[in-house]
Symmetry: D2
Subunit: 303 residues, 4 copies
């Protein structure tokens, strides 16, 4: 298929390469052009603008950091018209970024007004999974559009979940999924602080609960990061964790759902950022519990 692909960060790189490998024709665009070099070598066409990347394609994929970045490339601004203005009426925009429900609804309305199709299809998986075509796609929107994009999803993911007709519901699922992970980290952080002050090794505690109770690779992975304080380099920056829990809270507020655990996580992310941990891995939310237990005054490792 002819695909426009905007956003060649940690995630987008791997995804775009996998699409090329699967035989699709890619026109890629990234604000920092150098990120497109390896894709150009692999056969992608490099566009000079978001609008150019959207021109003439069947499917436009966006994989960007946040609401602002997606808005900028789709709606453009004075100097640079966005992809909305060039995307053909036959085409579908597949928004794979983790963005707000509000933006997803705005995109749905704008594309509908322009007679373009629109899917929200955020993904679960870290950059390694993106590189290995092992993502999970959470797709929402018209069934025929999901079916149309399935070959693309198959090229980047190990599975697709279709969650509904309303694109924004996929965004809700994505941010709630991230909230589930943050919840696990908060629970681990509090337990580890208790273990440390009780003279039990957090590593042993992690081993026990994961062997006897959870049997979950993600408990093992994140738990190990915390136990070993491997917060750098960040797999997923703590300040992005704040962004995501904020999206969950905003979605819940829209739906009139109190989520006190989400509020607690948000406040702990803020405390971590206030202390200077915004750029290290989000698993460092566990350090807030350490600091509150008097185990550390919170300067980062190595400082």
């Amino acid at each position: 298929m002819k695909v426009g692909f905007i956003g060649l960060g940690n995630m987008g790189q791997g995804m775009a390469h996998n699409l090329l490998r699967a035989g699709h024709h890619l026109t890629v665009y990234n604000r920092t052009r150098s990120a497109a070099d390896s894709l150009a070598q692999a056969g992608a066409t490099v566009a000079d603008s978001a609008a150019a990347a959207a021109q003439g394609v069947e499917v436009l994929i966006t994989m960007l950091a946040d609401d602002e970045a997606v808005s900028a490339v789709i709606f453009g601004h004075d100097a640079a018209p966005g992809a909305l203005s060039t995307l053909s009426t036959e085409a579908v925009h597949v928004s794979m970024s983790t963005v707000s429900v509000a933006l997803s609804q705005r995109l749905a309305a704008a594309h509908a007004a322009a007679n373009q199709a629109y899917l929200a299809a955020p993904v679960f998986g870290r950059p390694e999974a993106a590189a290995a075509a092992k993502l999970w796609v959470i797709a929402a929107g018209a069934t025929e559009q999901i079916d149309r994009c399935r070959p693309l999803f198959d090229a980047i993911a190990q599975g697709v979940f279709a969650v509904g007709d309303e694109p924004w519901t996929a965004n809700v699922v994505k941010v709630a999924g991230n909230f589930m992970i943050f919840s696990m980290l908060e629970a681990l952080g509090e337990s580890f602080a208790l273990m440390q002050k009780s003279g039990v090794s957090p590593e042993l505690f992690l081993d026990i609960i994961n062997t006897a109770l959870f049997k979950s690779p993600i408990y093992q992975n994140y738990g190990s990061i915390v136990v070993q304080q491997r917060y750098e380099p960040a797999g997923f920056k703590l300040k992005l964790g704040l962004k995501d829990v904020r999206l969950a809270i905003a979605a819940a507020e829209e739906a009139v759902v109190p989520m006190p655990l989400a509020s607690l996580i948000r406040d702990h992310f803020l405390a971590a950022i206030a202390r200077g941990d915004g750029e290290i891995d989000m698993a460092a939310i566990a350090r807030v519990s350490e600091v509150n237990a008097g185990l550390s005054t919170g300067p980062r490792q190595g400082e």
Copy 2:
């Protein structure tokens, strides 16, 4: 080995039977004598009192509901002297109940004063696991005592974790493990409420996060209970959940560790009990999020 076994409830039944099956000699005691019938048939001696069950044994195991029950059988009272008074100085008391750190410390002191050995060895696993000899034992105390009891642990469990020399540390690990499960339930409850009000099926959401993220049987099991509202019969009563999170909070207070998520869980257990859900499964903590989201006023299923 010659073993005294006190407490033949849902958990104790299965454990005692497995000890018999492994060839150990059991003297059992339960406040309600009828609970001992099937064990008598299987070859156990039935004692008339806790003190009698402790007499002449090498190992005394207690598996009871709470601090009060354990105190009663060990320390006794005016009319009935406790097991402490009859246990020989060669013997070891293995306390497998989920009790407070404070009681565990009091038991350690009392047994030491009586020249008796003491282990805390609470278990992870529900009644089915107890019946199937698939528990996990968290043991703490003197290494030689743990080694001495290993044949017994092997008869009831699929594994033993030795966590330290201080018996009470095993109790901390146990209540923190339960806190981890409660945390999962709280996170699921909040997410499910968000899903319902967003028009996404909680069942689908559970399937997504467990396939793409957690891959954990315990998420699957508890998640299904909530999704299907299978709160009766209770696998583990909600009011016992309150007891256990209270133990975690008490242990944390002793160690001067704030655990705000544990506080949140405690407050939600209380809200559930105030609404009349104390006797149904603890997974019903998820209903607090439903009620707070206006999805239910909280009368129990079937009322």
Copy 3:
């Protein structure tokens, strides 16, 4: 002085009348024109648009419900240019509404770019205080502008606090002040629930703490509303309470300050709204504690 006044709701009515009484020349504008009738009778000129109300005045006062309303009248939209486009470069815009820090910063930038002056001057006081010229003004911005507007503030308020050079700081003070009141209500709500379930009259408890501890008219007033369940007619709607605590949380997030009590209040406002209490007095946040204590399933009084 020649004053433009936009926003003639519960608060604005009284304020505008008091300005007229003090001898100022008013051009007023309200979306619903009938709200201007009594002011017209009292000598005010009625404008047809926000832009018209701003034309030729020395001071433009806005007193509106929320960010959206203020943005609409200042920035306008396609069909209707806003006050920004007609306000003279000699003039100052005094924004007295309770709005976000973000909007206040945007207004500051826009007015600066248009060579207009700008003050944020939100007020404390309910409609009765506005009618009685008994408000308190929290002003921030250039000192000479505050001095210039002092005769206007004197006509509507019993006092003015100047809090800084940056206009947005007045908005932070305002929303934090409201947060202090919400905190009082939450504390009262939890205590009253405890009293009820302990068989002590909440009214007596209120009397005790206000006599022995707080000696505060505002504890007395709000406490009585809760004790007597006088939630209708709403003095200040609960859904506006949610708006205001959200503004406090947003300001705190901008400043990287976790405010867990604000988060708790927000979640309780949401629970109240989910249950149908959004349109009654914000003091009904106390009912969330009642519902959580099983004292009520939360249908509104009279239903």
Copy 4:
């Protein structure tokens, strides 16, 4: 009246002196005898034990630090029988300490069994108020006993509130009153952190909210302590604040009332103690918000 008075700490000293001044005959007892010197000079008889202080009196007043201290003097132990054993059947025990509902109920039962009368009559007021006979008494129990003790209350207090027939209800009111003060401190702490990071002086903010909103001496007093960081010498130690909020939470748990704000306060007291602030004034709970906002790593003033 013939009065036994046990507990001559900061509070008890002033109270006992005021009873003497009002013409009552006092027999006093304090664990550390030197605390009784000034009372002996003023005419009190000094007893050698709690049991001796209770002998032959009409009214026995206890004013001690906590549950443990009250239990020790009333119930005694092996070496030293308690006041319960010597108090005449005509006499009434007036427990004025801040103790748990559970202990108050235990005292009620024990005195009833001994045919002695019992009132719970905790007080509001700090040591200065005790010295100036300006306390407030919260009394509960049989009306005739409250009437009988009124001359004593009048000698030490500016007022008496009778809250019910069940003595323990007075203890609930007392701990809930303290909870109200802690809530105020938490709200101030969060707001002050926001002010500091927004460039507004907390002192000015305090002045604004107390002038425009609360008009409360207690907001002024505690607010000033925080603003000026006058945490030493402690008027009321933070670790005692933890004790008191724990009593409120225990009373609420007994009544099945979730109090999430009390939980939040408890967790912040714990965080403060973990950081080393247990011995300074409880107003230092405000520092937790400072630390969480990155304004301080929390070492105490002067370190």
